[in-house]
């Protein structure tokens, strides 16, 4: 028999929060081939646009993913607003930014916890998720739900944040900043974490460009690409610093995301300060006609919605390409040559989200 080990890694595997299978071929514990088997979470929701009208689909878009749920609905709404030539009020743009960035913090904290868990650092996992509870409480107070904010609509947002709510946001942001100041340097300087991440899952800049990596994965390999630079929502006004690293390993990805968490807090502060008054949405009349590709930067990178309407209240076609879909090919390039113990670390280092990837 073969000297090679062949194992299914997933779909039901506790290290993988979502079902996906990697068929690993290993020599002892060194991975020589890793191929993904997907489809454990494919529902076919793109086709639901034929059954639900374009307003209902805002909620559908939100449930493409339960992590950056809000950002999905925003992408969808931005796309429709472009087709239908709707200009949304300024306050709505700022609110979208605030919720978006708070979402990014929660997503990155969640990721940090799961990554720590993948290399058995339970304490970091627990602490990251403890901080994340602060963010989720904030979301529930401002939007009415911890996960599915349900505040997006075509033409703006459904819900306003009062001045008191904004003050609440600032307080939480400060509290988070305090936690990060204590916690993030500890994590980044920990000997054992470095052992498990430095030099693991390397992706060179050339590979990243070639294979179309997006988001923190690309930025950790030295590609300074971040769609917030295009200034959608209120990013143009609020401005932000793009965080990049060059090493291209798991540690660099961790550093990028940690840096982004700080940057998120800064943006939220600036957005609250610059928050314009006024309406939060405009009424939208008629049905969409035409096609558009809407893109924005999710916690995991560039998400793309292709939307096509033909004048009916149901869209003709919706297609979603998520950041994880783009990062799968780079992942396959990172795995061969690593050790079995590194597989979960590398997989989680791209912050995979299979749910929206398979739709």
């Amino acid at each position: 028999m073969s000297k090679r080990t062949i194992i299914p890694f997933g779909p039901q595997h506790p290290v993988l929060p979502e079902p996906i299978q990697l068929r690993l071929v290993m020599e002892e514990e060194r991975v020589v081939e890793a191929l993904p088997a997907v489809g454990y979470i494919h529902r076919g929701l793109e086709k639901l646009v034929e059954k639900k009208d374009y307003n209902q689909c805002v909620f559908l878009a939100e449930r493409v993913c339960g992590i950056c749920s809000f950002l999905h609905s925003v992408t969808y709404c931005q796309g429709l607003e472009e087709i239908m030539s709707v200009t949304i009020p300024d306050r709505a743009r700022f609110l979208r930014l605030i919720w978006g960035e708070v979402h990014r913090v929660h997503s990155h904290l969640l990721w940090l916890g799961l990554l720590a868990d993948s290399f058995g650092f339970e304490n970091v996992f627990m602490h990251a998720w403890r901080c994340r509870e602060m963010v989720l409480d904030l979301l529930e107070r401002t939007a009415g739900h911890r996960v599915m904010l349900g505040v997006s609509c075509v033409g703006g947002v459904r819900r306003d944040i009062s001045d008191e709510g904004l003050a609440d946001i600032l307080r939480t942001v400060d509290a988070l900043q305090k936690e990060f100041d204590e916690f993030v340097p500890v994590v980044l300087n920990d000997y054992s974490i470095k052992q498990r991440t430095v030099g693991v899952g390397k992706l060179t800049k050339e590979q990243a460009a070639e294979l179309g990596a997006v988001g923190p994965v690309a930025r950790a390999s030295g590609i300074a690409r971040d769609f917030r630079e295009t200034g959608y929502a209120a990013y143009g006004e609020v401005g932000f610093k793009i965080v990049t690293e060059t090493a291209g390993d798991c540690y660099a990805r961790m550093k990028v995301r940690c840096g982004e968490m700080y940057e998120c807090l800064n943006m939220v502060r600036r957005a609250v300060a610059a928050m314009p008054a006024g309406a939060i949405n405009v009424p939208v009349k008629g049905n969409p006609t035409g096609e558009v590709v809407a893109r924005l930067e999710q916690p995991r990178g560039e998400v793309i919605y292709y939307l096509k309407g033909n004048g009916a209240k149901n869209l003709e076609r919706m297609r979603i390409r998520t950041p994880t879909f783009a990062n799968l090919a780079p992942l396959l390039a990172m795995l061969p040559g690593c050790e079995l113990a590194d597989v979960p670390v590398i997989v989680l280092s791209i912050d995979p989200c299979i749910s929206c990837t398979e739709r």
Binding site: V38, G212, I304, R321, F325
Partner: protein
Amino acid sequence: MLNNELPVTRDTLLNEVAARRHQGYRFVTVTCVDLGDRFDILYHFDKDYVLYNLRLSLGRTENLPSISSIFFAAVLVENELKDLFGIPVTDLAIDYGGRFLLSEGSPVAPQRKPDAPPAQPAQTKDGAVK
């Protein structure tokens, strides 16, 4: 009609894709729209936040050459086209044999409009592997 759109045919597709690669574009994704009589297949590329799109109009039974030899990253989405639209994509770098997203018991080519019968024969029991 999208911005930066270029119509291509099956014959010019690979050359155009190669040209994008040469110009430093990044492969973004492929979108397929079933127009009922034909497929619109959109290849999206990006450079400096600007999209460039190739639009290929494909007959309902025509083969589609894979671009995975030029952009490896396209292999997954091309498998998806094969699965969901039943489009025979040829020369895939990794071929999931029509069982990429779908499995035993799934509908065949579910995103294909119903009036056109699937060009692919029904899936075999075990599916094919690469």
